[in-house]
């Protein structure tokens, strides 16, 4: 069993689904192109036919609505948006339709729709080709939101999302496509049972993040271990509905929290992590004030030097964690 990259692991997930579940099909822009969505869907159209791997006009809203309609008729469509920025044209169908149809119509309507939004940022693409906005969608009741951080989750959370009877927003990040690991055979998980996972054990501080931010936390924890700071790392995995217990349990143990997020600060997901911990814990249980590391509250720039400043790095996580650990709870002001 060799190693597989995150991008190809997604493709394995699609292959598994298309091969084993007749009611699955995929629709979205770029599916008949070899490069449009990286290496995550290459040649699926030739392997499974263009009736089940459907490329579309430049019509995000109708394409998403059509996927929802097919889901209401018993199919398990995956609608692909090659960039979250483009997916915003489909907000009405995702947020005001898909997320609400079950509740609005009495609770028994099945909506097995998966929306796949790809974070495709950096490379000096600029403000309109860099948004993540998972904080927005995690805010919406009725919409499950997952962000895999590892090749295994990239494949198996995709499978779990598509087999779930609720609408799921599956967000993958092109910056993780190169991350490799060994993969055991695919498993069909029940998404309702999946939650944030403790991926590293430590005593001094809790680092928590989703998707690429979880990867940053893991890498930073390695560095921090070298100078004797032991980190508990939580990979969020499932952002909505959010099971905060693993996070809170971790912070209870460490007394310190650094929430890392690749979205903006204000009303962002990092704030939700901090708020859940602050509400659940006794003030006396904190050894230092919690802290957030996120994008600055600015649109993404293109200019290289500004782009470097814009995105949090492993070093930024390390530096922020050191600060939190260095602070004394009683004197912090």
């Amino acid at each position: 069993m060799g190693v597989t990259g995150y991008g190809l692991a997604i493709r394995e997930g699609f292959e598994y689904l298309l091969a084993n579940h007749r009611e699955v099909f995929t629709i979205g822009q770029g599916l008949w192109s070899p490069w449009y969505v990286g290496n995550s869907m290459t040649d699926l159209d030739h392997r499974f036919g263009r009736e089940r791997v459907i490329d579309t006009p430049v019509s995000e809203l109708a394409t998403t609505g059509a996927a929802l309609g097919a889901a209401l008729c018993g199919y398990r469509p995956v609608v692909i948006h090659p960039r979250v920025d483009f997916m915003l044209l489909a907000v009405d169908q995702i947020v005001t339709q898909a997320a609400k149809w079950r509740h609005m119509f009495g609770g028994s309507v099945r909506v097995p729709l998966t929306v796949r939004g790809i974070i495709n940022r950096g490379g000096e693409q600029g403000a309109q080709h860099s948004q993540s906005l998972h904080s927005w969608f995690a805010h919406v009741p009725g919409l499950r939101v997952v962000m895999p951080a590892t090749p295994a989750d990239a494949r198996d959370l995709l499978i779990a999302s598509v087999l779930c009877d609720d609408p799921v927003l599956y967000i993958d990040d092109r910056w993780l496509y190169g991350v490799e690991s060994e993969l055991s055979p695919p498993v069909e998980m029940d998404l309702r049972r999946e939650s944030p996972r403790r991926v590293r054990e430590g005593r001094d501080i809790t680092l928590a993040g989703a998707g690429y931010s979880a990867w940053l936390c893991v890498e930073a924890a390695r560095v921090l271990a070298e100078d004797g700071i032991s980190c508990d790392v939580i990979d969020i995995r499932v952002l909505n509905p959010l099971d905060a217990r693993p996070i809170v349990d971790s912070v209870r143990r460490t007394g310190r929290l650094l929430a890392v997020d690749g979205d903006w600060l204000t009303c962002g997901f990092a704030g939700e992590i901090v708020a859940r911990a602050a509400e659940a814990m006794a003030p006396s249980a904190w050894r230092a004030s919690p802290r957030r590391l996120t994008l600055p509250d600015a649109p993404a720039p293109t200019s290289g030097p500004l782009e470097k400043l814009y995105y949090p790095t492993v070093n930024d996580v390390v530096a922020a964690a050191r600060q939190v650990v260095g602070a004394r709870a009683d004197t912090w002001e």
Binding site: T56, P57, A62, T63, G69, T96, F105, G106, R192, P241
Partner: protein
């Protein structure tokens, strides 16, 4: 086209519907086809029922018994009744904010409609949606929602599902003239045309979007031109003529079941009540009040009835019987619905996701 052209600067007539949009036109009885009297009588009965139920709902709104917004389709009954004639339960139907008639024409339960409007657990949507969110899966109605245009692409997806199923089922999308101003309407027509999906687009053009006449919102009063642009075969029909609607719908649906692509019907009609609620004078649009009285002369129910009566197929007594039956059914349904229980408090959170979380 083909050859390069100079700029076409012809100014467009803003009124292209001609007599189809005329409040004083087409007051005479319908012209009936040969045979088929049984269905015509059933259609009459069904339209009478829809009107009685909507009138009852209007009265209850006026009496303050209803809180959720109700958009009545009184005056527009012929469109869904004509279309429903060629539908089967495995077809998928979608509506919008003004969909009581779509629901009832498809065979929806009056009791469940009343209960839904009252927010009861026995309602069509178990009290979670009210008048603007109706569902009746048994009869193929998968959903009606008040976001204008929102169910149009969803119906296209149902058409895609029907095509993948390969059983000759179709999808029907009911929407109004205002919905054609939403971009998603155009995206949906292009998608259905490009993929050749069995979707019947039915635009109930009642000339108004809320308070605004179509002449204040579009450069022409006929919307079938959009279907032409998207290369979707279109028919323009008197929406107050159930026979004409049934004929074009049957034609379109037959082609679709045989594997044809989408089709479009523009049915010109008029609503007798305000945009929302029971009052007739709610609106403030162009010449609305004067028109209304004339349009009542184009009553789809009376025109069918008079045609049937003139040939002795149905008498005034029979019509009266239908009306009494209908009012009685509405009354009974209302009375029962009033006694029904509300959803339990847990419904608020338990109905968000499938299974617990």
């Amino acid at each position: 086209m083909g050859a390069p052209s100079d700029l076409k600067t012809s100014v467009t007539p803003r009124r292209e519907l001609g007599d189809l949009a005329g409040a004083d036109q087409r007051h005479e009885p319908l012209v009936l086809p040969d045979g088929d009297r049984a269905w015509l009588i059933e259609a009459l009965r069904r339209m009478v029922l829809i009107r009685a139920v909507e009138e009852r709902i209007g009265d209850e709104v006026a009496a303050g018994k209803v809180r959720c917004p109700c958009h009545l389709a009184i005056g527009q009954e012929a469109v869904p009744v004509g279309v429903a004639r060629s539908l089967r339960p495995t077809d998928r139907v979608f509506g919008a904010h003004r969909s009581h008639a779509h629901y009832l024409a498809g065979g929806g339960s009056v009791r469940k409609l009343m209960a839904e409007i009252l927010g009861k657990d026995t309602g069509a949507s178990r009290g979670m949606g009210g008048s603007m969110h109706l569902t009746d899966p048994e009869h193929g109605l998968l959903g009606t929602v008040p976001i204008v245009g929102a169910t149009i692409p969803i119906a296209v997806g149902a058409g895609l599902a029907a095509k993948l199923d390969g059983r000759g089922d179709i999808a029907v999308s009911y929407f109004g003239d205002g919905a054609t101003e939403e971009g998603v309407f155009h995206e949906s027509l292009n998608l259905a045309a490009t993929m050749r999906l069995p979707v019947l687009f039915v635009c109930e053009n009642n000339l108004f979007s809320s308070h605004l006449h179509i002449s204040l919102r579009q450069p022409s009063d006929s919307v079938a031109r959009y279907a032409d642009a998207h290369r979707v075969p279109a028919a323009l029909v008197d929406g107050n003529d159930v026979v004409a609607v049934a004929r074009v719908a049957a034609q379109a649906i037959e082609t679709m079941r045989a594997g044809g692509g989408p089709a479009f019907i523009e049915a010109v009609t008029y609503r007798w009540r305000g945009h929302v609620g029971p009052r007739e004078d709610e609106d403030v649009g162009v010449r609305r009040k004067d028109d209304l009285n004339l349009w009542k002369g184009r009553d789809p129910v009376r025109r069918l009835f008079e045609a049937l009566r003139s040939e002795g197929a149905v008498g005034s007594d029979a019509l009266r019987a239908f009306e009494e039956e209908a009012r009685a059914e509405a009354a009974a349904a209302w009375a029962q619905a009033e006694l029904d229980p509300f959803p339990p408090p847990e419904a608020l959170l338990d109905r968000v996701y499938g299974g617990r979380r």
